[in-house]
């Protein structure tokens, strides 16, 4: 009896992005979620432009010399 109950229980309406593996693969929400994540991931995997590294170096150096001057 308890078993039947748990089988009939629907997953709580909203898709939780934290647990994508539990969602059915043909769930449209999951397809959207996967596409979104793979889009984001592809951008995130791009090499970081050198200008940001240079900028941080500069900020770091400027701060260092300002402190020494104090």
């Amino acid at each position: 009896m308890a078993e039947v109950k748990s089988v009939n229980k629907k997953p709580a309406g909203r898709l939780s992005p934290a647990k994508p593996a539990l969602a059915r693969s043909d769930n449209p929400n999951t397809q959207i979620a996967l596409k979104l994540r793979s889009f984001y991931q592809s951008v995130q995997d791009e090499a970081l432009p050198q200008r940001f590294l240079d900028l941080l170096e500069k900020l770091d150096a400027a701060e260092g010399s300002a402190q020494r001057a104090e």
């Binding site: 909203r14 769930n27 979620a33 596409k35 592809s42 432009p49 940001f52 900028l55 701060e63």
Partner: protein, 184 residues
């Protein structure tokens, strides 16, 4: 101090790839996104005294970037009456940056979402924030974020014509029949 500064820089660097992905997903343009990231780094650096080490650096940086974006958009809106200009499709300029045709379709669909829905679904669905954190970053109520995410999902589904069962040929036909059979 010297120690704290090194940690700050290291943590900031660790968040940069995700911060940049957020900027690119929001604006749809690499050049504008990178300017935005640069401004964010400078703002964050100037305000680093305000940041409490050990708290969520990622959320802090995302909040700064988001504020930068919207203040730019507001300025732009005053100048040219086209606050959407920043989001204009320029896929043709960067066709190779998004591998598959599928990805390009997705990017185009994402750009069609209203700003507040786009940022909500990116923060929760891709950047890895909880609904609570996303609400804090966007400065709105938890319920508002939840409904924005839902509307964004719905709209993306419509735009990409992903409607589950119809993508699976035979199932679309058999599903109603089998469900009827089981119901009776």
């Amino acid at each position: 101090m010297e120690q704290g500064q090194t940690t700050f820089k290291r943590e900031l660097l660790a968040v940069l790839p995700s911060l940049r992905a957020f900027a690119i997903s929001l604006t749809g343009r690499h050049d504008q996104a990178d300017d935005l990231v640069q401004d964010t780094i400078m703002k964050a650096w100037a305000k680093q005294e305000q940041f409490e080490m050990g708290t969520n650096m990622k959320a802090w940086l995302f909040t700064i970037l988001r504020n930068e974006l919207y203040s730019k958009l507001r300025k732009r809106g005053r100048e040219v009456q086209d606050s959407d200009g920043i989001f204009t499709e320029n896929l043709a300029q960067h066709p190779s940056q998004y591998g598959s045709l599928d990805m390009q379709d997705f990017k185009r669909a994402l750009e069609k979402l209203p700003e507040e829905q786009r940022e909500a679904i990116i923060l929760v669905g891709a950047s890895g924030f909880s609904y609570e954190e996303a609400a804090e970053i966007c400065g709105c109520a938890l319920g508002t974020i939840k409904s924005r995410v839902n509307r964004a999902r719905q709209r993306l589904q419509d735009l990409l014509q992903v409607d589950g069962e119809s993508d699976y040929g035979p199932d679309a036909v058999s599903a109603p029949i089998t469900s009827r059979a089981f119901a009776s």
